[in-house]
């Protein structure tokens, strides 16, 4: 709407119309802004206030909190453990987001290429994986990788790798995150694949036909024609994946419950939970949460700017 006004602001007649700004758009914005302020503004406000106080279980049960300024931030960010958690979270988030989008893109392109019933089988399979409740999915993976009775160890042993008998996948930080990545990717690939596939169906047949007439091979069509056209969709799903994978919590928590080194496998969400809810350091948890808010904006900022630019272009 603003765009329409902006691009036609050249002539005098319209400049006059610009001066009497219609009130309706602003009125229409009120519900959205109010919802944002109540739903997000208030919690953020409390988060900030809490992070500047000494706030523990006593305060939760009514003792007046004391204002401590930036003490919580100083305490949290001089703690080496926090930085190790941050580094692990960013690495986990980027690796998983890129792998998820990569695999999803591959499946989408494949779905476009295969014939009807194969595609429908693929779509149903993907939807079933997507529809599996989180706890059920993690439980299945816990059973698959169980050190005593898991089928993964059994397969390794059956194919001659005796050293995997009783191998504890969740006991080592690296293999723990590998199993966690399997779960995260397995659960989010369907969304990415189906979204990108939906984008692919919007590529018009005429454009492709024109390309073919101009002598483009199928590889060229894929990389030069189709990919640029679905780039906005890929950008959006990648952005969403980065945000989702940064706030991964339940998968890690449920895997830790199966027996894992806890402190070493904490990601940001789990660390905040353990700090706030587990050890009742609500102020410290609030400080880390605000840091995560900033981190998310920094990580996703370039994408949001890119999407805005795409729109303006």
């Amino acid at each position: 709407m603003t765009q329409a006004i902006g691009t036609t602001a050249g002539s005098d007649g319209i400049a006059i119309r610009r001066r009497r700004r219609p009130a309706t758009p602003y009125v229409l914005l009120i519900p959205a802004v109010a919802a944002l302020l109540i739903g997000l503004g208030y919690p953020v406000y409390w988060q900030i206030v809490t992070s500047l106080q000494e706030f523990g279980l006593m305060q939760q049960f009514g003792a007046p909190p004391t204002f401590v300024g930036l003490d919580n931030y100083a305490r949290i960010f001089t703690d080496a453990e926090v930085w190790s958690v941050v580094a692990k979270s960013i690495a986990f988030c980027l690796v998983n987001a890129l792998l998820t989008v990569g695999i999803g893109l591959g499946l989408a392109v494949l779905m476009r290429a295969v014939s009807g019933w194969v595609r429908i089988t693929m779509q149903i399979t993907l939807l079933l994986a997507w529809a599996t409740p989180l706890v059920a999915a993690v439980t299945v993976f816990r059973w698959l990788f169980d050190y005593r009775t898991g089928v993964v160890n059994w397969i390794f042993v059956q194919s001659g790798f005796e050293s995997f008998d009783g191998y504890n996948w969740l006991g080592n930080v690296w293999t723990f995150f590998m199993v966690a990545s399997f779960i995260v990717i397995w659960m989010s690939v369907p969304f990415v694949a189906l979204s990108i596939y939906a984008g692919l169906t919007q590529v018009s047949e005429e454009v492709l036909e024109a390309a073919r007439i101009d002598g483009a091979g199928s590889r060229q069509i894929l990389w030069r024609i189709i990919m640029p056209l679905v780039r906005p969709v890929i950008a959006i799903v990648l952005l969403l994946q980065i945000i989702w994978d940064l706030r991964v919590f339940a998968q890690i928590r449920l895997l830790q419950d199966a027996g894992a080194p806890i402190a070493e496998t904490n990601l940001l969400g789990n660390y905040i939970y353990e700090l706030g809810v587990g050890s009742q350091d609500f102020a410290g948890a609030a400080a880390v949460s605000l840091f995560v808010l900033v981190l998310t904006m920094v990580l996703s900022g370039p994408y949001v700017r890119y999407l805005m630019k795409e729109d303006a272009a």
């Binding site: 409390w46 988060q47 305060q59 919580n72 504890n168 609500f282 904006m297």
Partner: protein, 449 residues
């Protein structure tokens, strides 16, 4: 197309913001609500809907039904709803629900190790001296009463106790020519000898500190002591270190369970495997009710396949963990406390519920169901078989974790799980003890850390 993208971008940035707000800050604390019950003119308590939280599945259905029926019969017009909370989430749920007058459960069960934290934070309503006497007074299990008291005022009462003892495969032990040990060192040697590649002599996960601290207590060690006003973690005390090192030897010598495991269903390890061969363990340590998951397969009245509860005592048997110089080792006292929320809107009805829980009938039912009764006068009801006898014997020698205000924080942050895992992995006990003393001491005193 363009508009779609704008909407998508806006939505995405909104979602970014929304999702980044991971941990929720605490709610604003409401001023303590007026907790005086409005009484009608006749002096009768106004009817209300009472909520009781029980933790885990330890309270059998029969007992729950008794509470509901009795309460509703004695308090006309009132109802009682029993909600079961998961042990794992209990601290979280209590932290968020108890301060909220609108949503607080009226009466709650919580772990005895969690009781000091919430009691110190002012989460519970005081139990008046008159009521305390009425509910059993000094006959109530005193170590649990202390866990629920601050400066002589009682807030949380014992609910039930359990204790841990050893379940073992008598056939495997006697085939190996090993007698039931009489000292803790003999126990370690015996289970180390019994271990094979396929069978733990004593199945024990590395993170299972609630079993592990028995070795600390047996060696005269303490986890923490109160020095003046401050709690101090005493892992570096020489007795504590001796206990931890002895436990490390037992774990390394006798257990095939990974160092990262905890709360494993050990009772399964004792049963014969479906495919034959040695069981996964010759010995386990578990609370008394584990008995019903151990034994040979049999059919119950409904025709379901169940374990026979260790009917064959030449195959399955029990003993109490022996002490360093013989006798019985002080094991970790499991169990629960019961308290009324300070924010409860129905304090008088809640007290009526407590009167039912601490009645002779209910205490008898607890004892008959193998739960150590809060009122020690009813212990004798349990001592009708070897399981009951050993429960009472070990409970009399059992010990609680420190009653420090920050103890629940130590548990909530899984600090002991981590420490015991590192010891199980062969870490240097003295160094680890010093390191974790520094972590734990500030947490014990309720300081953020």
């Amino acid at each position: 197309m363009k508009r779609t993208r704008l909407v998508a971008a806006t939505a995405a940035s909104t979602i970014t913001l929304a999702m980044a707000l991971t941990a929720c800050a605490s709610d604003d604390t409401e001023a303590p609500a007026d907790s005086e019950e409005t009484t009608s003119e006749s002096g009768e308590v106004e009817p209300g809907d009472l909520t009781l939280w029980v933790a885990g599945g330890d309270t059998p259905d029969e007992l729950r039904e008794y509470l509901v029926d009795t309460f509703e019969a004695e308090n006309e017009g009132s109802t009682l709803t029993i909600e079961e909370q998961d042990w794992g989430d209990l601290v979280t749920k209590l932290t968020t629900s108890l301060p909220d007058a609108e949503n607080t459960p009226d009466v709650v069960e919580l772990g005895n190790t969690q009781a000091p934290t919430f009691t110190n934070a002012g989460a519970f309503r005081e139990i008046s001296p008159e009521l305390y006497e009425e509910l059993g007074g000094d006959n109530l299990l005193q170590s649990f009463v202390e866990a629920g008291s601050v400066d002589g005022t009682v807030y949380a009462l014992p609910y039930y106790f359990g204790s841990r003892y050893m379940f073992y495969r008598a056939d495997i032990w006697s085939d190996a020519g090993i007698e039931v040990p009489t000292t803790l060192a003999e126990f370690g040697d015996a289970v180390t000898e019994l271990r094979t590649d396929d069978m733990s002599g004593f199945a024990l996960g590395g993170q299972d500190w609630r079993n592990g601290i028995s070795w600390v207590f047996a060696n005269g060690g303490e986890l923490a002591v109160k020095e003046g006003e401050e709690w101090v973690s005493t892992l570096s005390d020489e007795n504590t270190i001796a206990g931890l090192e002895q436990w490390q030897d037992v774990y390394e010598g006798a257990s095939n369970v990974p160092a990262t495991e905890r709360d494993v269903a050990y009772w399964d390890f004792l049963n014969d495997k479906a495919e034959g061969g040695a069981p996964d363990a010759a010995t386990i340590m578990a609370p008394g009710w584990a008995r019903w998951s151990i034994g040979d397969l049999t059919e119950n009245d409904e025709g379901e396949e169940v374990r026979d509860g260790m009917a064959d005592d030449s195959k399955f048997d029990i003993f109490a963990l022996p002490g360093v110089d013989g006798g019985v080792a002080p094991v970790f006292a499991g169990g629960s406390n019961m308290a009324v929320s300070a924010q409860s809107q129905h304090p008088e009805l809640s007290e009526n519920l407590l009167r039912i829980i601490y009645s002779d009938e209910y205490q008898t039912m607890l004892a008959e169901n193998g739960l150590g009764p809060a009122n020690t006068e009813f212990n004798s009801i349990m001592e009708t078989d070897k399981f009951g006898e050993i429960t009472v014997e070990t409970a009399e020698n059992s010990k609680l974790t420190p009653a420090a205000p920050g103890w629940a924080a130590v548990e909530g942050a899984s600090v002991y799980e981590e420490l015991f895992q590192k010891i199980a992995e062969g870490g240097d006990v003295t160094e680890l003890a010093a390191e974790y003393d520094e972590t734990i001491t500030p947490m014990l005193n309720g300081q953020a850390g």
